[in-house]
Symmetry: C2
Subunit: 154 residues, 2 copies
DNA sequence: TATTGTTATACTCTATAACTATA
DNA sequence: TATAGTTATAGAGTATAACAATA
């Protein structure tokens, strides 16, 4: 399981399915965290900015998208706003609600992080053959989409 | 990238390689977090316990394995020790050092979490064919092992 | 001098509960 | 009454810097 982060398995040894997937998930998270840290943002902040790339949700919608309590979303947005990465604006339809959007600086930051991170991921896949990469992409996509259909919007 | 956690892609649509891998990593982390939370432990605590399943490292070694500062490891072990999940013992070889090990309760807890979590992961792979599952396992293992060889112990 | 581990301190992230202002 | 958002508060997790004990 989440056991062996620093334990390099002996060469030519194959991990169990679960161990492999867990270690892969930590690897992906570490790549993302490292690139985000270069710009002094956390994974949570990066996730927030990533969500806002193609949306302008209300605070409630944002909390749902992030899987957080609304008070947690308030804090996250507060800190991002203080850094000039996002901004709040009143909703036209509902005077209780506010929408959150990227600023120009926020958009620039998330683009830079995303670009470097994507290169890291492709770098990690370097040893795979073309057909292996295609198979991985297809299978992973199938797992994620199926999980979303079962749980998220059915 | 880390963008669309709540955005179910339309059925029959395939994610990009990077989006798929990022969403898969969040999915795995969420499964682990949910099972750990059933026993009131965090992912960090679970990772600590997982590492200790087959090791009795010193605090320094533990910090390296977790990728944390030694002061962070102190806090993590403090909280786990207060809950009776791990214990410290003096090193025979070096009077500065202490070793950390699972207690009986800690071992029981990590086994239960690991078992339930593994079932969750296999559940998430349910829609795959036998050969797809084998291909996924092999490719993922290859990526993780190669990354460990390049970085960790070469 | 260098290393091992802890402590003091500060910040981010998260949740619960209580509050306000709308709806 | 119910919902949207904030505030107050508390705790986990993390890092940096300074320290004591030992190597």
């Amino acid at each position: 399981m989440a056991s062996r982060p620093g334990t390099g398995p002996a060469p030519n040894e194959q991990l169990t399915t679960v161990d492999g997937l867990v270690q892969l998930s930590f690897l992906i998270q570490e790549l993302l965290e490292r690139r985000a840290a270069e710009h002094d943002v956390s994974i949570s902040q990066t996730r927030l900015l990533g969500i806002l790339r193609d949306r302008t949700p209300t605070m409630s919608e944002l909390a749902t998208l992030l899987g957080l309590d609304k008070s947690s979303a308030t804090g996250l947005v507060d800190r991002a706003e203080q850094r000039g990465l996002v901004e709040r604006s009143p909703s036209a339809a509902d005077r209780r609600a506010v929408h959150v959007r990227l600023t120009r600086a926020g958009r620039a930051l998330v683009s830079r992080v995303a670009g470097a991170f994507e290169a890291d991921v492709f770098g990690a896949l370097e040893g795979l053959s073309h057909s292996q990469r295609e198979a991985l992409s297809k299978i992973v996509s199938q797992v994620v989409v199926q999980h979303a259909e079962r749980h998220g919007r059915l």
